[in-house]
Amino acid sequence: MSGRPSAWRLLTQNGVVAFGLALLGVMVLIVLLAPVLPLLDPNVTDVAHRLKPPLYPGHWLGTDQVGRDILSRLIWGTRLSLVVGLTAALVAAAIGSAIGLSSAFYGGLADTLLMRGIDMLMAFPYLLLALAIVAALGPGLFNAMMAIIVVNIPFFARGVRGGTLSVVNADFMAAARLSGLSDWQIIATELFPNVLPGIVIGVSTTVGWMILETAGLSFLGLGAQPPQADLGGMLGEGRNLIQVAPHVATIPGIVILLLAVGINLVGDGLRDVLDPKLKSGGLARTHARTAAASSEARRAGLQPAGDAARQPLAVRGLHTQFTVGRNVYKAVGGVSFTVKPGEAVGLVGESGSGKTVTALSIAGLVATPPGKITRGEILHHGEDLVDVPMQRLQAVRGGTIAYVFQDPLTTLNPLIPVGEQVAETIRRHQNLPRAEAWRKAVALLESVRLPDAANRARSYPHEFSGGQRQRIGIAMALANNPEVIVADEPTTALDVTTQAQVLALLNDLRRERNAALVFISHDVGVIAELCDTVHVMYGGKVVESGPVAAVLQTPAHPYTQRLLACVPVLGNPERKIEPIPGLPPATNALPEGCAFAPRCHLAEARCSAAEIELAPVSADHFARCVRVAA
């Protein structure tokens, strides 16, 4: 169904993980076969043949200080260490997860009691606690395992509690309650499957650590007791002979190393598969600007710019696409529009229509990888921003072309006072002393009508309401007297009454400062309130453009017509809203010809035959529809 490769393939594709898997597989196979392999008895002493070196006849890895066969002891010892490590990890995970799950699910008093108990466990130094437990219970492998289980419970309890808390308030938990499921059913079928990957990751990354700890306790003589062989015990016994017969300690040491390496590599691989967010690939650095095809390739077939070269912004034949695996998402497929000084241009469309990618392409802000501008140019007074030098692009960004984003809480730095952030934007572009920049920043915050700006400039982003934060975002955009402000859904996250204020402010400011506005929204109402011209986008293309009044009152493209028919209009509840059947197209599988044809009630054969050009409806009103072109 999905293009995502299977978990097993993801695991084995990674060379390092495959190596770990092979290493571990061989070791596990050998220790599983221990009973049937032709091995000498690991505990039979033969003092006559003590401390023989490796490759001694009959003893491939030599013998130890009492003449026992090292190979045999090694295999049986590894078997024991693996069993103990795995059991300890599983038991600690089971107990710890149960504590974490119930603590997070029931909350309140149960949470307090359980977690304070865990805190008490954690208050003791780790190894000291293990030593104390073994001291109390007496030495022995089982007791050592108990000690390791106890000291590892907090790790799982806290991890699972955190994982559970992020799920426990999810709406699907409430939905399960409404479905009549009991607490136990909810824990077992809703909660547990969603925290299980975290537990598996925890186990796989700690098994190695637990084996090392058991080995450590055995090394100190508190774990496996002679003559029983485990890796730590063998290491401990060989320690005194390191000068005389180094192989006695070195061989178990190497096996411990290989075991830990194998387990950790597989653990990391499992984590990558189960938790794709942590995967190193996801953290790949994005470039400082969007990648682009060569300028010849981009400009092939473009008409001369003419008048557009004199405008503050002209997007011409823009194609931006994303390559993810084998899928190519043609997010923007040939968008052209011009922005005149002081003009307000609206881009309207539904999610996936390409409006945001168009906006981000203007200043090369589309993430690369995976984004790339493959065709078209972006002219800023005739200068193609797609291939200007980086320094020049940085001067334009936040300088003559500024952005306002949807959610100011995520675009403002939470650790820096807002005045400082506005001042930084000013100083980045203008050579001003600190105090002067601060004064300008306060003046800007006043101009966006932030109450008590001089004092509030020292506050942090979280101390403001959503509407106030968006005013600060606008102040930052205005910092360097931009010619063009690109505003991407700036009021979508705001309440209606706040939205009305912010829209009024944007409108006043752009008129005062004669700045052009590229305003992106899914809300035709907002566009109509603010813009002079509008471009309606669908499937990465502009399907209709023209003066706002013309496009919204006499829409020529069926998509625009039906989009408007979908929107409930206040004060006219009797008007029947008519949904558009079907779904917007996926941009990696756009239909031939008109992207709207599969949902269009007027579609005919020629709609899907070939590319359709924008055709004039009137002098300044265009639509991309065969019915208009005819």
């Binding site: 939905a175 399960a176 009549g180 079928t189 969603n194 209606v496 309130e529 929107v567 006219n572 779904l583």
Partner: protein
């Protein structure tokens, strides 16, 4: 009134409060502050208000996910709070909820079949064969293809996920469905599909809706009665036509005036 299926009287809900270990009082917020509402059988009550006005808290109390600090909520004459404490199954056969985030309200590790079967089994004790038939029926009620039942939530678009959320609520065969911002996360064209579906289901199944939204035009389209909430209180309520044509409270007037011009009826421009 016998025609009322859901009534609330002086409902208050506070968060926080109480005392710390050493007796210092904790701060508390009154999210819902004395709300009294009536919902007539087979009709739609729209509740509008901005973020933080208490409308979602109200929704959760109506379905028994939260208990009121004081005041009563009754469904068919029985106290929702009492049922939530003693007999959740009876309560959830009467009232169900549809959530705002279409994907977040579906367990990512269950198939649609499993999600829809849960209420059939737990609330109605249906057998395997009966559940299979009913799931197919529910899928067709919300206009989804029956074979989609084998898929996992992440394979669906927002609009399709919300249909599944509605089907899950319908599976309980409730009298009342509380819809908390059910179309706010959807694109306009898909939003219209879901609104039409809701209207159609109400007409066919005689459902009663409590429709909560910040979007006045949407509420106006779907509601019979409207209540406007502001800071935990209902500042104005009445028949839809009266509220929108002749708002009395200053806040209602401000809300209406904030809607961008093109989405208001009247001479264009």
């Amino acid at each position: 009134m016998s025609g009322m299926v859901l009534t609330t009287r002086d409902v208050v809900r506070e968060f926080g409060g109480g005392r710390k270990w050493f007796g210092t009082p904790r701060p508390h917020v009154r999210a819902v502050d004395g709300v009294s509402l009536d919902v007539a059988r087979g009709r739609t009550l729209g509740i509008v208000g901005e973020s933080g006005c208490g409308k979602s808290t109200m929704a959760r109390m109506m379905v028994g996910l939260l208990l009121p600090t004081s005041g009563t909520i009754e469904i068919d004459g029985a106290s929702v709070a009492d049922l939530a404490r003693t007999d959740r199954r009876t309560l959830h056969r009467k009232v169900q909820m549809v959530f705002q985030d279409p994907l977040g309200s579906l367990n990512p590790r269950k198939t649609v079949q499993q999600i829809l079967e849960a209420p059939l089994k737990a609330l109605h004790g249906m057998g395997r064969a009966a559940r299979r038939d009913r799931v197919a029926e529910l899928m067709s009620l919300v206009s989804l293809r029956a074979e989609f039942a084998e898929r996992y939530p992440h394979e669906f678009s927002g609009g399709q996920s919300q249909r599944i959320g509605i089907a899950r609520a319908l599976a309980a065969n409730p009298e009342v469905i509380v819809l908390d911002e059910p179309v706010s996360a959807l694109d306009v064209s898909v939003q219209a599909q879901v609104l039409m579906l809701l209207a159609d289901l109400q007409a066919r199944l005689g459902l009663t809706y409590v429709f909560i939204s910040h979007d006045l035009a949407v509420v106006e389209t779907i509601s019979d009665e409207v209540a406007v909430m502001y800071f935990g209180k209902v500042v104005e309520r009445g028949p839809r036509a009266r509220i929108f044509a002749d708002p009395q409270h200053e806040y209602t007037k401000l809300l209406l005036a904030s809607i961008p011009g093109a989405r208001r009826a009247g001479p264009p421009g």
